[in-house]
Amino acid sequence: MCADRVSYTLDSTLETVNNAEETASRMATEAGFDEEEVMKIAMAVREAAVNAVLHGNAYDPNKKVTLAFECTAGDLVIVIRDQGKGLDASKIPDPLAPDNLMKTSGRGIFLIRSFMDVVEIHPSQTGTELKMIKHVHGKPADSKEAPQ
């Protein structure tokens, strides 16, 4: 079982991306996810960290990335924030569109959405908050079993 809530403040470096991925892998394992789900969660966090470090903070040494993990009864909730200009999710092109298929970038948010159960993007003038939720065993925390 993982700790209830853990948060980190990280520099805008490539090392942060790797650290975020490793931490996510450890937290997901402690939360009880299987190997394949752990890989997906870790990859989603890696992609989110890449967005925060590169596109959000643009490697600015004066800007930080915060990463928080929260374990609830049925969910692993992960929030990552940057201090960039704010990501307008509506302007992200669909990487599966024929015209975009051979582009060399633009798949990060798509992969995050593919791997996590809930993804919320909250941009503001002070940065972007990306919230990701993975349900343990694929069930929302408040789901109820059908009566026998």
Partner: protein, 115 residues
């Protein structure tokens, strides 16, 4: 674990054996430099052996696309060999699996290049 790359020649095809992770940073740079170096030497039949690549992120996927396009634009061919399940699944969900020419056995892959 960072990525390692080594090349060998088989019947006019350059096989690039890659191992490790193709991710933002070193892994992507190694792949990019390797393919560019081969093309600059006129070695335009390139088979990327991904059998020991256990992880790839969106930057790595972008680097594979870039390598494929760069080779094609220079009159070359770039094919993929021995995808691990993780890489296979990633190429499936990004709809790139059918874009790349993916092979499962080395001998057949070598023969498939235009002579």
């Amino acid at each position: 674990m960072s990525m390692k790359s080594s090349t060998r020649q088989v019947d006019g095809v350059t096989i690039v054996d890659l191992s490790g992770r193709i991710t933002l940073g070193e892994g992507s740079v190694v792949l990019r430099d390797t393919v560019r170096d081969l093309l600059s030497k006129g070695q335009k039949k390139i088979l990327l052996n991904l059998g020991d690549v256990n992880y790839i992120d969106s930057s790595g996927i972008g680097e594979l696309v870039s390598a494929f396009t760069t080779a094609k634009n220079q009159g070359g061919e770039l094919k993929l060999l021995n995808l691990t399940k993780k890489v296979h699944d990633l190429l499936q969900i990004t709809k790139l699996y059918t874009v790349f020419d993916v092979k499962e056995d080395e001998a057949g892959a070598v023969k498939s290049f235009n002579k």
